[in-house]
Structure formats: C-alpha cells, structure tokens
Amino acid sequence: MQKNDQADKFIIPIGPQHPALKEPGHFEFTVDGEIVTGATIRLGYVHRGIEKATESRTWVQNLYLLERVCGICSHIHATAYCLGVERLAGLSVPPRAQAIRELVVELERIHSHMLWLGVAAHEAGFDTLFMYSWRDRETVMDILEGLTGNRVHYSANILGGVKIDVDAEQTKTILQGVDFLEKRTHHYLDVVTTDSAFVQRTAGIAVMSKAVAEHFGAVGPTARASGVTQDIRIDAPYLAYEDFPVEIVLDTAGDLKARFVVRVQELFQSYQVIRAILDKLPAGELAVTMPRRIKENETISRVEAPRGELFYYLKSNGTDKPERIKIRTPSICNFGTVPALAAGHQLADMPMILAGIDPCFSCNDRMVTIHRPADDSQTWTWEMLRQYGISYYREKER
C-alpha cells in the first residue's frame, strides 16, 4: 500500500462514508485526469474488539458472538468455531449434523454470491441485474429462514451438533428453490459473459496474474479467478465434504470477468452439493453433549467461507472460557491486491475493482497498536496517549 505525500496530486477519497461502499473503509485514489496512478487503503473502522470479548464469555456464549462477526457469512464463522471447539474437546459430531451444517454452509454461499453479483452489478451501474439477482436471492433467503428460523443469523449450530433437522417438506422446498435458482443462474452466467455493455466493463480490467495473487496471499474466488488452485473444501475437507465433495472452479484470466464467472460457476457446485446432501442425508443423532469445560489445549480450524479461507485459532485453559481466539478473515487477505491492481485503470473502474474481491467490511475488525517509541512496549497510559496526541498534532502543524 503505497503512500503519496505530494500535495499537488489530485486525490479522490472514497469512504468511510461514500455511496460506492455502504461500509466503512477509506480508499484514496491519486488520479491524473480519469486515470488512477496510485491507491492507498485504510481499514479498521469497524474494530469491535470481538476477539477480546470472547475471552470473557463461555464457550457456548461465544458461538453466538462469533456468528455475529459477519452478517453475510454468519454460519461459516459459527461452523469454523464449532469445528475448532469440538476438536479441542475431542468430540465426534454425528454425521447427520455435519451434513446439515454443510447444507446450510452451501445455502449461505449461494446467498452470499448472489448478493455479491448484485452489488458488483450495481457498482457497474447495471441496476437491472442488481435488482433481479437480489430478487432471486430472496428464494434462498426464504429457504434459510424456513430451515433455520432466521434470515441472517441462522443459529443452526450448537456445540456438538445442530439445532435443526431437515424433514421431507423442507427437502421439497429446498429442491424446488434450488431448481429455480439453477435456471436463473444459467441466465446470469449468460448475462455476465455475453452482454456487451457489461463485458466491456469487466473483460481485461484489473488483470491479476497467478504470481501476483500468490504474492499478496489472495484467497477464495478472487484467487481462483487467477488460477490459484486453493479451496479448503477440497484441500482439507471438513464437515461432510469427503462424502459430498465439490469440484474446484478455476479461471486463468484473472480479470474482473473471470471473478464473475468463477463466483457464478461456484453456485452450480453449491446446487449440486445441496442435491447430493438432500439425496443421501445420513440418519442419526443431531447433536452430542458438549462438556462445559475444556482442558488446556490449542487448535486451528480452517474452512472455506464464501470469500475465501477463514481461519480460527483457539486456545483453551481448562475453564469454561477460552484463553484466546484469533480469527483471520478472508477479506483482509484480498484487500492487499486492490492498490496493486488499481494503478493504470480509470477512476470509473475503481468501484468494480473494489467490489471484485467481494470485500466484507465486517471482516476488517482490526486495530492498529502503536509501540511506545522509548521501550517498544504496547502499554499506554491515558496520560501518555494524551501527550502523544498533542505532540503528534504539533509536529503535523509545523
């Protein structure tokens, strides 16, 4: 993320309040006429302190706190956490519960990708595609609401299993919805690959080579659109992905169009997996009892969120509360690619390049810590911070 100090540069600020992104993030684009010459990113406007908050809550309560890390990929956060905690406690979760979790994960992926399709179309000024993709997204939202009881925070998981079961009637509604969505998805794939007005906004824009994607550590569909073969569902199967596998969706073009194609194609994988799960749903228990306390141990948990690899680190200390939970969200890995891709493109392409990585701002729950100049310690007293602030602004004024 390069920094431009020259005052004579014309800088377009986008965010933290801007109609392009209804979410807090600050982007500064240095422009020469319409051509962007440099970009900087500032994140962390949404620091909520969730990681710290987990340390004062029990394992059970944390499930619901962590589900609220993100409103779009809520279930995957809860699932990653559950998988980690169950591994810490040495629990084996019944196969039916794992399959139902996978079912909700894939339904959530459909909702997330369709939401993204609409947002990206809106950034391109194609509001009709936006409206239609969101209209059809209601189908999967209704399915999720009917299945779990809520549109956004499904709360399908409990530690040791799931709360919800899938009955014959649910199966029928889900299959009907998936059939409808599959038909519509074919249409949207047609739109994003053949509509000339739309394609000329996406084809050849923000081309990211495989090397660049790997250099910046891009994850998920953003990386797969550049030909990086990385999908946790395939690399390290969790839940029931061994029994109900998905195929990796790759594109080597690396441009915005490829990202559209990869995400839309992934929808077909999700439909196929949902059908497979509903066809051969293992019988058995929904949940096993979870111990309240977990002996001292540590583990990691990796899952494939709609935006890419989601990583949890969990450490227990023998009580009913965790010692430390660390979350690495996918968007934070992808943001680094934006300044690298921005230079040389037009200002009009910027919202699309940003949207191309499917940025989730709840993922950017980050804080900047400042090391004390004197002794490199991170502890600051109120008085020290005050003095630091005063001298900082004095320095700046001079």
Binding site: R57, T58, V60, Q61, N62, L63, Y64, L65, E67, R68, T128, L129, Y132, R135, E138, D142, E145, G146, L147, T148, G149, N150, H153, S155, I158, K163, I164, H187, D190, V191, T194, D195, S196, A197, F198, V199
Partner: protein
C-alpha cells in the same frame, strides 16, 4: 457478444406484478421455525438457571422466590435478546420456546421490552424490590 441480454427479463416484468411485498399492508405468514419472542412455560421449570447462564446477551433473568414451591419469576429483556434460541436448547425440561408469529416487536417506549413471566402474586412481590415499579407488564405464562 450480445446487446441487451436482459431484455426478456424486463419485457416480462413490464406485464407482471412487481415482486415487492407491500408490507405492512400485505403480510406473509411467518415460517414454522421462525425464532420470535421467547415464551416461558412455568409449570415445568425447575429453576436450574441454565437458560440465563447460557444466554449470550444477558436477556434472561430467573429470579427464585422459593425453590421448593417452584416460585420463580422470569424476566425477559426483548431488547437484549439475540433470538439465537440457545436457551431453548439449554433447557432440559423444555419449558422455553420461541414464538413463530410474534415477531413485530418494535415499540416507542422502553417498558414493553421487558416482560415478567410468572404468577401475578410473585411478580407483585418483586415490584419495588428487584423490579422497578413502572416496569411491570405482567403476562400470563
């Protein structure tokens, strides 16, 4: 390359009713599993307090007046509730459930957001002590 790929969509929509739901003028039935407002069935409650212990939002207060005679008051704070239904799972006696039709919970005042479940005389006993006098909206369990 084609021009105007979505033309079939827009032409069809022109002669079709908009899909926008005219809420609140037209309402759809809520799904069977919807997690709405919490309901407490006092008869089965043993007063173990797991519901309030597991609640991630401190939305449940279980006040024990007399454990032997099963005199409990459950104060439910809707404004804190995250509607996660963990309490329903934690309850071993299945005395908690979430309503699937009572979900329009907006109110102009703060008082309706706290509900005291329990016998009327028990709630009355608590008024002025644990419960502020102006915050009582007794409800039949």
């Amino acid at each position: 390359m084609k021009i105007g790929v979505m033309i079939s969509d827009i032409m069809r929509s022109l002669f079709r009713r908009p899909v926008t739901e005219k809420y609140p003028f037209e309402r759809r039935a809520a799904p069977q599993r919807l997690r709405g407002h919490l309901i407490w069935n006092q008869e089965k409650c043993s007063g173990c307090g797991m519901c309030s212990k597991d609640c991630p939002a401190q939305a449940i207060e279980l006040i024990t007046l007399d454990k032997a005679n099963k005199r409990f008051v459950l104060r439910y704070h809707i404004d804190r509730c995250a509607f996660c239904a963990q309490c329903v799972q934690s309850c071993r006696f299945k005395c908690l459930q979430m309503s699937n039709n009572d979900w329009e919970l907006a109110a102009l005042k703060k008082e309706p957001f706290t509900i005291s479940y329990g016998r009327e005389e028990d709630i009355a006993a608590l008024v002025g002590k644990l419960i502020p006098a102006d915050a009582v909206t007794p409800e039949k369990a």
